[in-house]
């Protein structure tokens, strides 16, 4: 009996797992976990740190590899074949000290959902490439829709609450504006720089103009609620929204997906997603490896993509006709991915990532809510992160995107 600590066990996953059990005779049981990622991490760490062998397979978030690395088996050799087909950035994210401690199950990254019908309606031929274009299109559509009897219509919704999701949004802003990454590879803290301040200040300007004032309290589901109910033109979110929106009455057939808009410096999309890792304490090592191999197999990955809309980390599947039929935007995004993907500074921060991310999101939130000016906020974040990490206080003086980490 394999115990799989999975997130929300999707009906699809249950079917896939039943198939595995039928094929191999290895029963798999889902261990329920809290819905929110941070609580899930807490629960996993309790199990792992107490050396329990109760759970064999753990679900690992993009930002956790450094935290759980010491409890996980190295999959580099046992899953060499499967891992060779994955997006390098995704694998790299789970590589800690040369060990690949988890295998990518699904890939997520920031993307822009847009109302193609409204773009057309207001004379825009393509989705916005840049933040400036987004601002233009959003404000025009918003104004137009409000004139047409939709007083609560907004141009753009995103995740502005004080939490991990804001970190992702803000990282994309900072990076695309050339503000670099809060924690640079050379162990320097880099927030308090003009490009980053420009980026934060732009985002703060959206609140109450093209974005609802409440956006500073939005997490993924709130922004999706607004956009999916036809109350906004643009949504920055993750891949999981796609199948849901396709099944929604308000936006089905009226939307499409584009990369997150570029800033003056570049295009940046934060990497998300989930991995599967095997506990070192497992009593079913071979069965667990077989299970991972199965979950990473082309068949399962295709099924998850086609029927669940989960983006496969596999490079070869980005050219698969069935997958592309289900997720048409997957091809273009995959081809751009190596250039646009940015990673959260999780591996650099290690076990302190949670606090680092909270400090960063909190600082940005203070700017968005107008409690501090962008410059004050950036300076405060800079100081907090230096204090938290002990990294060098070396903000770049001028926007330079060359140092960005991936």
């Amino acid at each position: 009996m394999l115990m799989w600590m999975a997130g929300n066990a999707h009906r699809l996953d249950r079917r896939i797992v039943d198939e595995f059990t039928r094929k191999t005779g290895i029963p798999v049981r889902f261990v329920p976990v809290p819905e929110s990622a941070s609580q899930q991490l807490t629960q996993e760490l309790i199990l792992l740190e107490h050396g329990s062998s109760a759970v064999d397979v753990f679900q690992v978030d993009t930002t956790w590899p450094a935290i759980v690395a010491s409890y996980m088996l190295d999959l580099k050799d046992v899953l060499a074949k499967e891992l060779s087909d994955e997006q390098p950035a995704v694998v790299e994210n789970a590589t800690i000290d040369g060990r690949i401690i988890a295998a990518p199950l699904l890939m997520e990254y920031g993307m822009l959902y847009y109302r193609s019908d409204l773009l057309k309606k207001y004379g825009f031929s393509r989705p916005p490439h840049t933040w400036s274009e987004l601002e233009t299109e959003a404000s025009r559509i918003q104004r137009g829709e409000r004139l047409r009897g939709r007083p609560d219509f907004w141009g753009y919704v995103w995740q502005g609450a004080d939490y991990e999701g804001l970190t992702c949004n803000a990282l994309e802003w900072q990076s695309s504006h050339g503000g670099g990454n809060p924690l640079e590879q050379d162990h320097a803290v880099n927030v308090n720089n003009p490009a980053a301040i420009r980026a934060f200040s732009r985002a703060a300007g959206w609140v109450g103009t093209i974005s609802p004032p409440g956006v500073v309290a939005y997490i993924e589901e709130d922004s999706r609620n607004i956009w999916q109910s036809g109350r906004a033109a643009f949504l920055r979110s993750w891949g999981y929204v796609y199948p849901l929106a396709k099944g929604s009455a308000e936006v089905s057939g009226k939307f499409s997906v584009a990369p997150v808009p570029a800033g003056p410096a570049r295009r940046a999309s934060v990497l998300g997603g989930w991995y599967l890792g095997i506990s070192k304490r497992t009593r079913h090592r071979n069965e667990a490896i077989e299970f991972l191999r199965y979950m990473l197999s082309r068949q399962v990955q295709t099924e998850r993509a086609v029927n669940g809309g989960f983006l496969p980390p596999s490079r070869s599947l980005s050219r698969d006709r069935a997958v592309l039929h289900a997720i048409p935007f997957f091809a273009s995004i995959s081809s751009e991915m190596p250039d646009v993907i940015i990673r959260r500074p999780a591996s650099l921060a290690g076990a302190r990532y949670g606090r680092v991310s909270r400090a960063y999101a909190h600082g940005v939130h203070m700017i968005l809510t107008g409690n501090v000016t962008p410059a004050e906020g950036a300076s405060a974040i800079q100081a907090d992160l230096v204090h938290l990490t002990g990294f060098a206080d070396r903000p770049q003086q001028f926007g330079n995107s060359a140092q960005e980490s991936r």
């Binding site: 889902f30 261990v31 329920p32 976990v33 809290p34 819905e35 929110s36 609580q39 609560d152 609450a161 609802p212 004032p213 409440g214 956006v215 500073v216 309290a217 939005y218 997490i219 589901e221 709130d222 609620n225 607004i226 109910s229 109350r231």
Partner: protein
Amino acid sequence: MSIGRRLALAFGSVAFIIACGAAIASWQFHNILEETRTLTAVDDKVLAVYRVRADVGAIRRRLDDLSRLRDASAFSPSARRLRKELSDDIDQALLYFRETGTPIPGTLGALRDAIGDQFDAMQRLTEVNDWTAVRLRLDNQVDEILSGVREMVEHVNADVTEQRDRSLKEIEAGQRRAQIILALTMLTSLAIAVALGLYVTRSIVAPLSQLKAAAHQFAAGDFNVTLRIGAKDELGDVSNAFAIAARKLNDYYSTLKRSNEDLEQFAYAASHDLQEPLRTISTFSELLRERHQNTLSHEGQEFLSYLVDASARMRQLIAGILEYSRLVSAEDHQSEAIESDEVLGVVVQNLQATIEQTRATITHDELPRVLGSRQQLIQLFQNLVGNAIKYRRDEVPPHIHISANEDDGMWKFCCEDNGIGIDSMYHLHIFGMFKQLERGSQGGVGMGLAISRRIVERHGGTISVISAVGKGSRFYFTLPCAEKDVGAVCCGTGSPASKPVA
């Protein structure tokens, strides 16, 4: 096996079966009790999840109302309270589901987290007064959770219904089983009790009734008893001892009877055969006295008179013995109803001469009718009356009185005289043969009372004497009543117990 062990085994077996039955039945009752407890627990579970569902439903409705009010200050306290209520009820439900192997506790935990997330999210949204986002959350995320809860409740319901059905079935089956077991135990123990009882009773009663029959046979004088008791128990021992005793007694009896018959044969033959030479002696001594008396000297004449007296006396003796032995061997003893006063009349007539000579008076009460041999009864009365006259006191005319009273189904006669009486030291001897108190003085050969006793005993009666020297004698003897059923009264005469042996 001994009776004691047999009985112990029988009762032990029954007790054992009843105990087994009781044990199985109480085990079944225990099961039923357990299942009943399960049922209660099942209901608790159902209630717990229903409460949780009601909570979530209430959260949905209440927050919906609050979101319409668009009042953040009213929203948060209500939300906190609702959240706490739900959390408490989830805790309670978790207690009930803690030790079950169901995924319910996980679901409940996940529900608490999920609802918590929703509360947090909505709290944030109310703080920035984005009521649209709050309402959308209620419509989308909270509704989804609610449907998840409904699914859980349905799952639990199905689970619990199944469990309840199972428990009810188990209880029913247990009750049925208990009934069957009780009935079986009762029937089995009853059957075994009956079988063992019959067996034990028969194994005791059968030898006992054999023994009883043998005892009756024994009592009836038939010592030739055979007992077929194979049992090696207490009854077997008793039977064996009884059989041995019976066989030995039978042997003794046969020997005794044979020797008695021999003796009687001898007595008869002897007395009969002795008569012949005695007749020769007395004939020739008579002839000698008649023809040659004168040629004999005085001394010779005296000797001859001794010879004649002795042979006469010898004749009397032999006649007595013969009479006695005839009584013994007389098989043609015929009983008839006899008026005893007639018998007495005959006797008085027979003794008329002596009575007159001695001036004796003979009186009697009203005498009954008895059953017996006329001839023998005449002899009996004549012997007793004769003796009474014979042993009279000098100078005192004898007075003899005869009376009779009923005594224990017999007539008890009393022949009372005013004679010389008998010293008590002789009371036992006088009924023997050739016994005379004063030999020769009164004539007779001492056979009278022996013959009298013989006659009384042959009639199933007894004879005894009460007497003292100088005070007369009272002879008592019993004879069967003629009024009673002849067979009943005379049954004793044929029985070995009352048969004279000497």
